[in-house]
Chain length 433, copies 2
């Protein structure tokens, strides 16, 4: 009943506390730990010790954590056993309990180490998102709440991956959600750094599990990481890096299990000794993609727009698009790639509009992979593309789709060819260097 | 940022919606299901079917559920592994995830049956409590929120056991919390009935597992149930019944596994054929109690008050108190009973004030039980007490403490003697009937 008064007062209180923090120049770091880093209580203890060791006099730390290990998958499975296609509002509320468990356990563990700490869900600290379930974007963060909580605590533990709508529904941010939470909080609080702790040493020029020659990057620009991540480097989600770039948040990727390792710094770059100036910075493989084709669509204006709108209304993000015109029939086949988790919904959506569009059928291929070469200098080097296409051909690798941009060259191949294709790409890049 | 505006608008919207509900005389029932009733997905499905069968045209249902099976114990154990004495704010937030999981799963299951349903945590629907963790009392319920949610849904699924403070901290209501949530919601919404579904047929004159002659009560008064529950009948928590009495909420205890069984009605009674007028209504056994004695406290004014204050500050509820004076020494032994879950905290609290009080030591006995005879007409029947004490003596049962009130006669005995003592009590009551 008195919510509006309380929150209104909080706004006022917050102005003075923000001023206080600015006046005293308190340093705040954001540290994000993924599900592997908190998968059991021993690891939560380890994370608490990293946080303790990072906590210097007068400084404050904001820790963002994901759900423990496979909790999210377990909850998803529970939900799918209750309903064939569970309501997304309910599913988001269900999934959000995963982070609520990990934040409370970490806060307790930190307190046991003598650290003034408290946990906050997205609702509690005020991470507001749009009204979209399972893929919500953050629209606002209550930095007044954050500042007030930092006055009374040295470490805040905040739930990653989740948000809340203005009318109190719980949302989740989708893939890469916890990284996005961390960068958004770092931006809101003006943090010195946003460290993403994970189970690798940093960002490599390719997947070191596949390509032995892959090298660790010490420093890389936001733009290159966005291209790499979107293409499946899987270390950082591009949404998070985009947010960091927009708000000039300095990021680092670090290894939870080697806390003294320097990792990879991600920033704007200053033109000196930056790897951004190397022609090519890495190779990325994404095996979680699938291909969908809507066949024999009449070649009329507005058709592609209607398809894209129907997919957008279902919050399906499509990536590459290819339109193949059959001149004899006056019909097009429209092919695009979507994340495998969206495949069923994509097919369902297209089937529902197929007749309206006069299309003949919808076909799909879940067994594809995207293999990409990334580098700021790629646009000026058309010779590289020719080399790669020739090498693929010699190796018998069929290229299903091709896309290029200023910073990347992407080939869609069969999932079975993905590792061989990435090795060929990486060696051609090695030759160029 | 816009919370206060939204909530303010909600208040205004609520007035009209309350009016709408009243105008149309929509019938609302509250159904509460405990942890046993939702312990796995098959049981959640069963609960959803009970709800569906109860849903008649134009009527609305508000379902309150506990956490699934042993979830709360599991979460408590996780918490106790992170800290010797976990922070209660963090613990409450951790425990509240148990109900959040069960409400979302039940809402999904109801939706799968074609029912318009949504889940709500205490924060989302607005069950406000005082700022006390692990044992909070409800201070307000946002009935405007409830009415609005009922306009758009036929079934609301609300998390039991939890609340939220005015500044957004999650609280839990302690033992019997979900029953209390159900009765409070029934009062706030003006429900026709509050049905507590459990794993027994209703309220018996004694524990039917111990006493074969125990009879099911068809109707019983709030007052008698409060006495029975406080003494361990374990079917309903007295807090919930007290709330129901205060707001004249008609309650029923029903069996989840025999949904057609009538159960026991609890109301004020109308003086006709009410079992309240029988001399004695039942026997209750509570084995979850323990005895604590603070030894050799100087016989000075204010000492008992200081002890009680110290316990109250730690939110420890004590039940029976006995003070034994040792005239030769001018010292008292003060003995009281507390719930076993509070025993450690009670001992710790007393040890911390022991020296200030000039007491010699604190001793405890966890192996006790309270056995009680309950009935509105008990006060006028002193012969029953004498019969019981004699029978106990003949059976070699030592009575450690005795307490009486208008409606009950309680004996504290060794836990080992509890079942025998309750049988003796029940047979003496049978003789009286």
């Amino acid at each position: 009943m008195v919510w509006w008064q309380l929150v209104n007062n909080a706004e006022i209180a917050a102005i003075s506390s923000t001023t206080a923090l600015q006046r005293e120049r308190i340093s705040v770091s954001v540290l994000k730990f993924g599900g592997t880093s908190v998968k059991n209580l021993a690891r939560i203890q380890h994370v608490a010790e990293i946080v303790r060791d990072r906590l210097t006099a007068g400084a404050k730390i904001l820790v963002v954590v994901s759900a423990m290990g496979d909790t999210t998958d377990y909850l998803l499975k529970l939900g799918s056993q209750c309903a064939k296609s569970p309501d997304r509002r309910e599913l988001d509320s269900l999934l959000s309990t995963g982070e609520q468990i990990s934040i409370t356990l970490l806060a307790m563990t930190l307190q046991e180490l003598g650290i003034r700490s408290r946990s906050f869900t997205a609702s509690q600290i005020g991470i507001f998102t749009e009204k979209v379930h399972s893929k919500a974007r953050i629209v606002d963060i209550n930095s007044a709440n954050l500042n007030r909580a930092l006055e009374h605590n040295d470490v805040l533990v905040v739930a990653g991956f989740q948000g809340v709508t203005a009318d109190g529904d719980i949302t989740t941010l989708g893939r890469g959600g916890s990284d996005t939470t961390a960068c958004a909080l770092a931006a809101a609080i003006g943090a010195d750094v946003c460290d993403i702790y994970t189970d690798v040493d940093g960002i490599y020029t390719a997947d070191p599990n596949v390509i032995a020659e892959a090298r660790l990057l010490k420093r890389v620009s936001y733009g290159e990481v966005i291209e790499m991540a979107r293409l499946g480097a899987q270390v950082l989600h591009p949404r998070a890096v985009e947010l960091a770039r927009q708000y000039k948040v300095r990021m680092r990727v670090r290894n939870t299990f080697k806390p003294d390792h320097e990792g990879t710094v991600i920033d704007e770059g200053d033109g000196e000794n930056m790897e951004i100036y190397r022609s090519i910075s890495g190779v990325a493989v994404d095996k979680d993609q699938s291909c969908v084709t809507i066949m024999n669509v009449p070649d009329k204006p507005g058709i592609a727009g209607r398809i894209m709108q129907a997919l957008a209304e279902n919050n399906i993000v499509i990536d590459m698009i290819m339109q193949a015109f059959h001149p004899t029939a006056g019909h097009n086949n429209i092919t695009f790639t979507v994340h495998v988790s969206d495949l069923d919904q994509t097919i369902k959506t297209l089937e529902s509009i197929k007749d309206d569009l006069d299309a003949s059928s919808v076909i799909s291929d879940p067994d594809i992979a995207k293999v990409s070469l990334i580098g700021a200098g790629l646009a000026g080097q058309s010779g590289i593309a020719a080399t790669i296409f020739n090498s693929f051909g010699a190796a018998g690798i069929n290229i299903k789709m091709i896309a290029t941009s200023e910073m990347k060259l992407t080939c869609v191949v069969s999932a079975a060819d993905a590792d061989r294709a990435s090795k060929i790409m990486h060696s051609s890049f090695g030759e160029e260097e």
